[in-house]
Symmetry: C2
Subunit: 342 residues, 2 copies
């Protein structure tokens, strides 16, 4: 038997290869693998949405700078983000928690406190799960369920040529926060007596440690009576997600660098680290903002919305996923977002 390391094909390649033999036996399964959530018909006119994320210690979080309560909160909210990315309503979560013997009951209670805080804020019912031990480290598995009217489900694949590309909030902040945390960790390791002064980074730290999924955008779309043509949440960076929508829709996309929303504090961190802030936005990931496309006829409704920026449009040519830079150059987007296997 040949032995191919996973690093050779990366996370997306691996998922493609593992899932290609999947067969479905139920008519009600409208979407399996390949979008933010699975979509399962429920009665005449509704669907259930189902999604799962694993958070592994040492891969997805570093307990040296991640408060356990924040970790629990984030474990819930990153899953809710997937439900909202389908234009859905999140209703339930079910938890798997594996911990090594070094964790105390009090530590686990802190994780749960964070999880239940997120459940309260987003009005989601925690309906059980599995708690068990692990040989080493902490593993949190969250499955989220949601529901939605069938005609409002927003897949990645529905973008049409000429649609406007929109993004909520601002981008790159979570990555900026991660860089600060990693830097302070090194400072602390070198000199444990040093008290880091991180108050001037509050915004980007919070974006990294305690992301809020954009339920408000789903509600906004509803109140504006807009059903997006395609939607995805930004977990791996803007470039990767634009390419997902384009590829799934068999269309191209053009975005404009000058339109990409970046917070002042994110820009300041980028400057400190001598990195282009656009790079943070394109490849940083973990922003949990929503990227979506709307018909041009919805432009008037959307153009003055504070929390949403129109950053580009969908094109007919599937070979084209470009960014027009601030200086006017056309740059092909590349998915350089985070890959846990690289």
């Amino acid at each position: 038997m040949s032995k191919t390391p996973v690093t050779e094909i990366g996370e997306f390649g691996l998922i493609d290869r593992l899932t290609q033999k999947i067969k479905h036996y139920h008519e009600e399964t409208l979407k399996g693998v390949g979008d933010d959530t699975a979509v399962i018909a429920s009665g005449e006119d509704k669907v259930r949405l189902l999604t799962k994320d694993l958070l592994m210690e040492g891969v997805h979080f570093d307990l040296m700078y991640t408060p356990l309560k924040h970790l629990g909160y984030k474990a819930i909210t990153v899953n809710l983000s997937d439900i909202y990315a389908m234009n859905g309503r999140a209703t339930h979560v079910i938890i798997g928690l594996a911990v090594s013997s070094k964790y105390t009951i009090e530590a686990l209670e802190e994780i749960y406190e964070g999880m239940l805080l997120a459940c309260e804020k987003y009005k989601v019912d925690m309906v059980g799960g599995d708690t068990t031990s692990s040989k080493s480290g902490l593993c949190i598995s969250v499955t989220a369920m949601g529901d939605l009217q069938k005609e409002k489900v927003t897949y990645r694949s529905g973008a049409q040529s000429g649609d406007l590309i929109c993004v909520s909030g601002d981008l790159g902040a979570a990555y900026a926060g991660l860089l600060i945390l990693e830097r302070e960790k090194e400072v602390f390791k070198a000199n444990p007596d040093m008290q880091p002064d991180i108050t001037s980074y509050n915004y980007v730290l919070e974006r990294q440690l305690k992301p809020e999924p954009r339920r408000d955008i789903v509600e906004l779309l509803e109140s504006l009576q807009i059903t997006p043509t395609a939607m995805i949440d930004i977990s791996d960076g803007l470039a990767s997600e634009v390419m997902h929508i384009a590829k799934s829709s068999a269309k191209g996309a053009v975005i404009y660098e000058e339109k990409i929303p970046v917070d002042m504090q994110t820009a300041a961190v980028a400057h400190e680290f001598k990195i282009d802030p656009t790079t943070f936005a394109l490849n940083g990931g973990e922003d949990y903002e929503l990227l979506f496309t709307i018909r041009q006829s919805d432009y008037e409704k959307m153009k003055d919305v504070d929390s949403v920026r129109i950053i580009g449009h969908i094109t007919e040519n599937p070979a084209q996923t470009d960014m027009v830079s601030t200086s006017g150059n056309i740059v092909a987007l590349r998915a350089q977002g985070w890959d846990s296997f690289k």
Copy 2:
């Protein structure tokens, strides 16, 4: 802050403590924590069932003797078992897989092959999930979903005084298989050239490595037009599960040792290891048989069913969960089933 090791209260104590602050916000949530699955109303007369299990390398499986394909198969079937234990139909699974860099793509394909084989056999749709890396070891998280007519949902809590206690198949075999595998592992470690002869243990090995959940019993109950009053799957051993049903129903229970079904091969392994086979059945766990209670009025329908044994009855006194031994002694049951934290 006090620091209490998890071992001090064990798995059930921990779950009680972590889940006591859970609040529900949705009327449709009929059951959260505390049964084999969560139960969520779906439309007028149906429910959705949701359950999750984590399998951790070194805790739940040992790759020295667990073929990866079997591991994938078992990861699915132990979750389906929880759906069947609610009298439900399993429809969907969603997978989380975290692997360290030592795993090759081919190894992961073997795990998926086993998972998809189970999906095919039980007609369950795999609808996605998350594949990521881990710092060490393999972690498989499976969430299973099912559905059911609302009036047929069978909780642990519905047993009534006088109901008959039934069990499917035979018990203790999975634990017998585990003992053989552990013994052969030690033999192999001492002398790697030794080829173990384990053909005479085929049945118990298969029960350990490749458990089949009892969908057939759910179908049988349907064809006999019996809705059990309570049901649970036997994952932690018969004693623990009888006590779960009794406690949830606020009743007592008496079972008869001589009625407990134990396979000849299980008994032979017990004899080899100089352990009472009844101990295997009571405390061995991982049998994934169904334990359920039926009304006395259903006795005639059930008494000649080959795959089900009536092993006792429910009593009025919640303080009593006893076994009448073959020699006629009355022994209080004790939950000594497997606890991953002990």
